[in-house]
Amino acid sequence: MRHLTPQELIDLAEGERLEPSVPHLASCDHCRREITHLRAAMARAAKAEVPEPSPLFWEHFSSRVREAIALEGALGRRLSLERWSRFAAPLSIGALAVVVIAAALTARINYRPPTDTLLSSAASSATGGALVDPAILPDDPSLDLVADLSSEIDWDVAGEVGLTTREGAVDKAVMQLTDGERVELQRLLEQELRRSGD
């Protein structure tokens, strides 16, 4: 004989289903007893009241909630200020670095080297544009400043302020090189590979 499931017994004990609608109950003492026990347990549990706190408690409680929310709001504002000030220094360094780099690049674009300083090496023999020997570049104080700033910027901080390269940026830069610059880049890479292979 299949007895009633817990779900069916609960439905019957709570009166969601009427007992005459379940023929099994007429012949099963076990299930009838289960329903009686469930009802007794519910009646017993229903009498357990929560001790009522003092009437003053409720007013005090509302004040506590209000105070906790006000405190959290004030704390949230302070934290956001601290978070902002934490990033303010690296951000200002980053912004300064961006300005300096932009100035340096502009200066380099506008620079017209004298014809006798052009290299006659592989770069100049290639079909592309001319390369400038770094050794003969005039001293540029803005480049020194960039070097100084960048040497002190932590990699993580640089990443946070957006100074690191984006995905695909290197490929794009290589595509924009002149033929001469690509030949020189290839030479430098091969030199680096030979050195690392030693």
């Binding site: 817990p6 779900q7 017994l9 609960i10 439905d11 026990h37 469930l38 007794a40 347990a41 519910m42 017993r44 549990a45 229903a46 009498k47 357990a48 009241e49 929560v50 001790p51 009522e52 706190p53 003092s54 003053l56 408690f57 409720w58 007013e59 005090h60 409680f61 509302s62 004040s63 506590r64 909630v65 209000r66 105070e67 906790a68 929310i69 006000a70 405190l71 959290e72 709001g73 949230g76």
Partner: protein
């Protein structure tokens, strides 16, 4: 987060003074005044008023539901101190998450869901002490004699102690069904389970309660 004048002011001193009947603060006057204005609002409108930062709107939500939330917490933890702290936490979380209240369930059911989570989290960290009998204020039933009242309080305390020993899901199901009259479907929503699982949990909770109370059961 929506802020209002009433909610932006530290209120401990004000609360004490008001409880003592010494004074009423302007902020509370605003809250009370607006509370009266909000009295006719339905739950959704009251939540919207709170989100808009209208003074007194959230006060009214707290006022309407604080007793039920406190009772829920008390039934989980069995002592006034923890129940009071947990109830405060429930309303704090409710305030933070008010935007997530969609109105699909009643505000009470939504608060119960937060309450059950807060209480279950607390129980997973520590087992709160059950309040001794002599610290409990018996519920006043008018003409009842002192000895009857004591007997009833004692029986109530035994049942609460037995409920406190139930497995957590059974306890949550029994509390929500017996004392907060949530439907099986609402309990399933609160606990993230099915109606069938809720009924099975309720069945086992009542069975375990019977075993724990032993001879006291008829």
């Amino acid at each position: 987060m929506a802020q209002s004048l009433a909610w932006a002011c530290p209120a401990t001193w004000r609360a004490h003074a008001e409880i003592a009947g010494l004074r009423r603060s302007p902020a509370t006057d605003i809250a009370v005044g607006n509370g009266a204005a909000f009295a006719d609002l339905d739950e959704r409108a009251l939540v919207d008023a709170s989100l808009a930062g209208r003074p007194g709107a959230f006060d009214l939500i707290v006022e309407r539901h604080r007793r039920a939330v406190y009772h829920l917490c008390y039934r989980f933890v069995g002592n006034h101190e923890d129940a009071s702290d947990l109830s405060q936490d429930v309303f704090l979380r409710a305030y933070r998450g008010l935007r997530s209240f969609r109105g699909r369930s009643s505000l009470a059911t939504w608060l119960y869901r937060i309450g059950v989570n807060v209480c279950l989290n607390r129980l997973s960290v520590k087992t709160p002490p059950i309040e001794p009998m002599d610290e409990q204020e018996p519920v006043d039933h008018g003409a009842e004699s002192a000895s009857d009242r004591m007997l009833r309080a004692e029986r109530g305390a035994r049942v609460r102690l037995a409920i406190a020993q139930l497995p957590r899901k059974q306890r949550a199901t029994l509390i929500l069904r017996m004392y907060h009259e949530l439907s099986h479907q609402e309990i399933a929503d609160v606990l993230g389970s099915s109606v069938g699982a809720v009924k099975a949990n309720f069945f086992h909770a009542l069975g375990n309660l019977k075993k724990l109370l032993g001879d006291e059961m008829p």
